[in-house]
Amino acid sequence: MEKTIEIIGRAAMLAGASFGKELAFSFKVFVNLFRRDTYNSASRTVLVNQIYFTSVQILPLFIVVAITSGVLINGILFQMVKSLGLTDYLGKLLTGFVVTELAPFVTVMLIALRSSSAINTEIAVMKVNGELHALDVFGIDRIAYLFIPRIISVGVSMVLLTSLFALVVLSVGLLVSGLVFGTDADTYIEILLSSADLPDIILVLFKSAAFGFFISLIPIRSGLTATRELSSIPVAVLNGMIRVFLVIITIEALSLIPRLI
């Protein structure tokens, strides 16, 4: 019994210490986000490149996914609304489900699969190769040069791509609405505008930014746990991606709380 308590206690202390380190690292990075000297020429160059890698390169795939999702979701949603006689709730369903829930979720999954894994691997490889040590030797601030541009680019990409996804799906909805109900564009837009709530929009933007911050910060932190051994790279990436998945679920669950109150 004593042994069991000892094991649980040790595990709890380790988890607490680890959580404390994560929190301290997050705070340090967050503070640096607002420091002016973080944004020197080198950081700005990395930021532009990262925004291109995260936001622009993904666009073709992203638009295809958005259109496909739009056709499927709108098709099912409109048929259900019609058969259940819930046409009065169409606007609320579209804004409440597509804009605030589906758009950030699909976007975060795509960006996490593509960019978070890339960031995690890149940092781990840099650690193994001694490139992080090289940055230290030349007095280059890792947070300003490596971490902040990646965090900002993922955050900005999350907000922009979430908005784009919602826009594409709602535009597809316009076509489906015309086919199913014979609704014209003005009526459709009016339904959407009358159903849109400012708190919902603020919530979705805040949620997207939070997703962006954590799905870039966690892979960075995880990449830093790699050692000088090559075999530590897959371990760092594996652990990082599991934690990214857990944080996505956690933020998703937390974002539901304001809607339930």
């Binding site: 020429s41 080198a42 950081s43 840099m126 001694g130 090289a134 940055l135 030349f138």
Partner: protein
């Protein structure tokens, strides 16, 4: 030696096999990164400076290449330029013959230093006593 460098109040340019170039930047990018970060020089100007410096070693053609495609001597020159562009006037070289295993003596090193003599005031070389024979009389090898 790395601990010694860490204790210094100012940054000292280090050329070492343990301090690699960044693999996600080309050679000119690795050199340009230093003035971009420390002097906030624009990306364009910093790259022009890097290419200009590489010209001293007739390496302009290698400006867009990555570290893994360079010969040992080219890699050494890029690392030397990166160290000298730091602006500290002091360059420390850690076991040069470990980075340049094909060399028999220090003539290549002296030739390299001559190309950047306007940028550096002092060069310190750390090496094993066993390598003393590869240096001329003008150098004191330290164990």
């Amino acid at each position: 030696m790395h601990d010694f460098l860490r204790k210094q109040e100012r940054l000292i340019g280090l050329v070492s096999g343990d301090v690699p170039l960044l693999s996600n930047l080309d050679t000119a990018g690795n050199i340009a990164l230093i003035p971009q970060h420390h002097q906030n020089m624009t990306a364009k100007k910093a790259r022009e400076l890097a290419v200009e410096l590489m010209q001293r070693f007739q390496m302009v053609g290698a400006a867009s290449r990555r570290a893994n495609s360079l010969s040992a001597q080219e890699l050494f020159c890029v690392k030397l330029l990166r160290a000298s562009v730091l602006g500290s006037n002091i360059v420390v070289i850690d076991r040069p013959f470990r980075m340049l295993p094909g060399l028999q003596d220090d003539r290549f090193l002296l030739h390299s230093f001559a190309q950047i003599e306007d940028m550096i005031a002092e060069v310190y070389i750390f090496d094993y006593k066993s390598q003393q024979g590869r240096y001329g009389d003008h150098q004191d090898a330290e164990g």
